[in-house]
């Protein structure tokens, strides 16, 4: 499989000038918008996106056109939010989309907003991406000046305002209701669903939240058609996906490939294998919130929603974390449990307390103070958290925790018998 094969989203990645309006226009940019506003009704756009099979790239993989279809047709006011909070550990693809090609995202957002009849769109960018916020704001200003935003866009009678909103450091604002609440000027704590935002979201009005990568695919689909999009990928996982790859492989970075290719090919052709001296042990394939797989399991997987689910994990955000043999799985899960504990918004007891328990119990193991019952206790705490909370953050902590325990139990057991210094016994093993 050649690297150049499919460039639906990443055609301008790595180019020094791809972010400029002139360059984007010269390469066909904003033609999709002209075509849509001139020729298609909003519902026709929704139908085309449904037919394309495009699914949300933010984590849940929900069919995009179907979600848009939930917006009541008689709504007097609709809002569109682009989720550029990108805080899922292992994920850095939206950053590339905004850095190298902000106009592609902006054009996609305008068409998507038109489809759901929104007149105000927010791009919610995590606050840590300071330089990117400036870049996207500049691109939005260019789009206004060129008549792609504002009143009566391209003289077709459609109005859209676009606001670049800067986050301020909270993972939970990536959850769609947390994101909406954050823009209303409160803590970004999630709300109970239903009602779903498509019916009642920002200021109680229908609101669609989509990931950057999702909207970025929309202009291409409008120009080339749903069938051309479906020609990539598998029947249920249509199109291409950006994979953010981190870890000691030869080539890290963001790669666009059709959904459904074998991981083994991707690993060989794109990642170039592990760096010299490192051995491939495990992979968290869809961002830190999905179950870890062993290297052997990964080598047998295809990279699409269904295959990964069958293998016991999830495609998630496509944040592929490559774990070498030299890494200590107990230390890694401590890092992750610290993260979920730190980022729990604190509304739900199982999440607030559970993440604290998990984090403290692993800390105990690492200090050489673990006892055999602790591993069962870890499992029990997980059982008391999953599926019981307002948002899926608690599950997001449980999935890596349980899968680490299940697949790398020997490393946890060794911690009960040994302290951090291998070979020296833990307090329990010393009989204390």
């Amino acid at each position: 499989m050649s690297r150049e094969e499919c460039k639906i989203l990443s055609a301008r990645f790595g180019r020094p000038d791809g972010h400029r309006l002139k360059v984007y226009e010269a390469e066909g940019g904003y033609q999709a918008l002209r075509q849509v506003l001139g020729e298609r009704q909003p519902d026709e756009v929704i139908e085309a996106v449904k037919e394309s099979g495009l699914r949300g790239r933010g984590g849940a993989g929900f069919p995009t056109g179907v979600k848009w279809g939930f917006v009541p047709k008689d709504a007097d006011q609709v809002y569109f939010f682009v989720n550029a909070d990108e805080s899922e550990p292992g994920t850095f693809k939206d950053r590339y989309l905004m850095d190298y090609d902000p106009h592609q995202m902006i054009e996609g957002t305008i068409i998507s907003s038109y489809a759901v009849r929104a007149n105000l769109a927010f791009i919610y960018i995590r606050g840590e991406f300071g330089w990117l916020i400036d870049r996207v704001q500049k691109a939005v200003d260019e789009a206004y000046a060129a008549g792609y935003l504002g009143k009566d866009i391209l003289g077709r009678g459609y109005d859209l305002d676009m606001i670049v909103h800067k986050g301020a450091g909270a993972y939970i604002c990536g959850e769609e209701t947390g994101l909406i609440n954050s823009v209303t000027g409160t803590k970004g704590q999630p709300s109970i669903k239903p009602p779903f935002p498509a019916v009642s979201g920002f200021l109680g009005k229908p609101t669609i939240v989509n990931n950057v990568e999702t909207v970025a695919a929309v202009p291409w689909i409008m120009i080339h058609g749903a069938e051309a999009y479906r020609a990539h990928g598998t029947e249920k996982s249509a199109g291409t996906k950006l994979w953010s790859v981190s870890g000691p492989v030869k080539n890290q970075g963001v790669f666009e490939v059709p959904l459904g290719i074998p991981f083994a090919d991707f690993y060989r052709d794109h990642l170039g294998g592990m760096r010299d001296g490192e051995e491939f042990k495990a992979c968290i394939v869809g961002g830190s919130s999905v179950p870890v797989l062993t290297a052997d399991e990964m080598m047998g997987c295809n990279l699409d929603y269904e295959s990964l689910q069958e293998a016991g994990t999830m495609l998630g955000s496509g944040g592929m974390i490559m774990i070498p043999k030299s890494a200590d799985m107990v230390e890694l899960i401590k890092v992750l449990m610290h993260f979920y504990w730190d980022e729990s918004c604190g509304q739900c007891t199982p999440c607030r307390e559970g993440t604290g328990w998990l984090h403290r119990l692993i800390g105990k193991l690492l200090k050489g103070e673990g006892v055999p019952d602790d591993l069962d206790l870890l499992d029990k705490v997980c059982e008391g958290m999953g599926g019981l909370t307002i948002c899926p953050l608690a599950d997001a902590a449980v999935m890596p925790m349980q899968s680490f325990l299940q697949r790398f139990r020997a490393e946890f057991e060794a911690r009960i018998h040994e302290t951090a210094t291998p070979g020296s016994p833990s307090r329990w093993a010393r009989g204390e």
Binding site: W131, I163, A170
Partner: protein, 181 residues
């Protein structure tokens, strides 16, 4: 209303005041304008002093509790004057497998402080933070609006040496400054 917190009035540039007016104009409600207005003040002053809270309450018509709610929930908002250079090192999983721990140990040694502390002269602070969306570029740290990536001990030394002279070197995310010039 009498504000007990107001010892000194807020000094804010005309430009920032204009930005705040524009935000109020564009956001649908006063409360929804709160977060971006906090940002305008912090971007100019570096933190949110008590007088800024009064200013926000008065201009946006939100409650004082609401302002405190945001200032305490969001980790990037600062209610105390920060060190001149706040170095925020990612400690999350990808950076961890790429050697963040060694980089942090090196920074601690060079600065003579532990993570979570500041140097007594107020020049540097060192923080451990969660994933910053630079996973394939780790180990990395954030300084202000920019990321320093693919860190090695040598690169850290170079950065610190420059900052000690108050030279902020080109960051890995600075590439567009040249392109846009």
């Amino acid at each position: 209303m009498d504000h007990p917190e107001t010892a000194t009035p807020l000094e804010l540039s005309e430009q920032s005041r204009q930005r705040i007016a524009d935000i109020i104009d564009r956001y649908p409600t006063g409360q929804s304008a709160l977060m971006p207005c906090i940002w305008v003040i912090q971007e100019e002053i570096g933190w949110i002093p008590p007088a800024a809270i009064d200013h926000l309450v008065d201009t946006l018509g939100v409650t004082r509790a609401r302002v405190h709610e945001l200032l305490t929930f969001y980790t990037m908002f600062r209610t105390e004057k920060p060190a001149q250079y706040v170095l925020e090192v990612c400690q999350n999983i990808s950076c961890h497998v790429l050697g963040a721990r060694e980089i942090i140990a090196h920074l601690e040694k060079r600065l003579g402080i532990r993570i979570g502390e500041a140097t007594p002269d107020g020049k540097f602070a060192l923080h451990g933070v969660e994933c910053l969306g630079a996973c394939g570029h780790g180990p990395m740290l954030q300084l202000g609006k920019h990321f320093y990536e693919y860190l090695t001990p040598e690169k850290v030394d170079d950065l610190l040496e420059n900052l000690r002279k108050d030279v902020v070197p080109r960051a890995d995310t600075d590439r567009h400054l040249e392109e846009d010039a």
